[in-house]
């Protein structure tokens, strides 16, 4: 490798390491719908042009080109009847597109309950000629609360998760019998040891509880509204900010 190529590779690695999700995030769901909600949440966090590479156990992979919270193109292993979608410029104005994409993801990940997502640079210019389809449009078409399991009215919790933004290391959404989760693997593992119901008061009213943990100062929150519960690991010292945001979204 020449000196210039070596330097370019180094710079690319550094740039990629600086991107949210560059090291990879685990996505988990109790059902295909819950898992797709987690995938849409990942797309909904990407504002700048990025490649979102999603892998399932067994080697199945879909690479998504994303910008402005919109899915521009997909490439992957769905194969068969879905090959027509590969590399095509996606346009949310096409009424059949959401259904086709739904079938495309189901063909690739229908049996999966855990995925690994990694964000990288997008190696091509994108602009107005790339209309794409928004994560929220896909969520509407697929009958999902953007971040939540199917069938739950997640408006308050969804807004709250969006407000928490990059302070969120990992999250789990629980609606009825289903749950979906995403985040850094270590943070997700920490959430496995926390029971959301134990943190919240009895009943089904809106409530939020934050814990500041002694080790590392991490913050764990549980929040409940409209039949959906959020459990999340946040950056250290986030309890007061999380409380302020909760008041904002619950009015």
């Amino acid at each position: 490798m020449s000196g210039k190529a070596h330097l370019e590779a180094k710079l690319a690695a550094v740039a990629e390491a600086g991107m949210p999700g560059a090291k990879g995030r685990a996505l988990r769901g109790d059902s295909h719908a819950a898992l797709m909600a987690a995938v849409l949440r990942e797309i909904d966090t990407l504002v700048l042009p990025r490649t979102l590479t999603i892998d399932a156990a067994g080697g199945r992979r879909i690479r998504c080109e994303v910008t402005g919270r919109r899915l521009l193109r997909v490439y992957g292993d769905a194969g068969g009847a879905h090959q027509a979608l590969e590399g095509r410029d996606l346009d949310g104005g096409d009424p059949a597109l959401a259904g086709e994409l739904g079938a495309y993801f189901e063909a690739a990940f229908g049996e999966a309950r855990a995925l690994h997502a990694r964000v990288g640079p997008l190696e091509r210019e994108v602009g107005p000629a790339d209309p794409g389809i928004s994560a929220s449009a896909l969520a509407d078409a697929w009958g999902l609360a953007l971040a939540g399991p199917a069938g739950a009215d997640g408006a308050v919790i969804d807004s709250y998760l969006a407000e928490l933004g990059e302070a969120t290391q990992a999250w789990r959404l629980i609606g009825g019998e289903e749950s979906a989760s995403a985040g850094e693997s270590e943070a997700l593992d920490r959430l496995d040891g926390v029971e959301a119901d134990a943190l919240l008061p009895p009943g089904d009213g809106a409530a939020m509880t934050a814990l500041s943990l002694a080790e590392g100062g991490d913050t764990v929150i549980a929040a409940r509204a409209d039949g959906m519960t959020l459990l999340a690991a946040l950056a250290p010292g986030s309890a007061a900010r999380a409380a302020g945001l909760w008041r904002r979204v619950t009015g």
């Binding site: 134990a198 009213g205 509880t209 934050a210 500041s212 080790e215 409380a243 302020g244 008041r247």
Partner: protein, 113 residues
């Protein structure tokens, strides 16, 4: 200052604290309490239960718990030098959480000395 004096001073400094209680959540004992209106014993007992439940969650690693409901703001601080003891603060739903957290941490440290 005595523990009771610490609680009274905290309620004077921190705007909106309706009740401040210092509890031993391991034994379920309220060590002392200061309140705008004396709470019933059941309410004081509930502080012990809530402190035990919240500080005992997440593997018992929590040092502070904050709970917001439509009725109140509840903060519980583990006493740094005495892990079975905790300071519980109850304030109105719209209370300044950041200010209460700072006051509560300082008072919890003072109570455990």
């Amino acid at each position: 200052m005595t523990a009771m004096e610490e609680l009274v001073a905290l309620r004077k400094r921190a705007d909106g604290v309706e009740t401040a209680a210092f509890v031993d959540h391991a034994s379920g004992t309220v060590l002392c309490a200061s309140a705008a209106i004396d709470p019933p014993q059941e309410r004081l007992d509930a502080f012990c239960a809530q402190a035990a439940e919240l500080l005992g969650s997440a593997g018992g690693k929590a040092e502070m718990a904050l709970r917001l409901t439509s009725l109140e703001t509840l903060l519980i601080f583990r006493a740094p030098a005495s892990p079975d003891e905790a300071l519980c603060l109850v304030a109105a739903p719209g209370a300044d959480v950041a200010a209460l957290e700072a006051e509560g941490r300082a008072t919890a440290a003072a109570l455990a000395r």
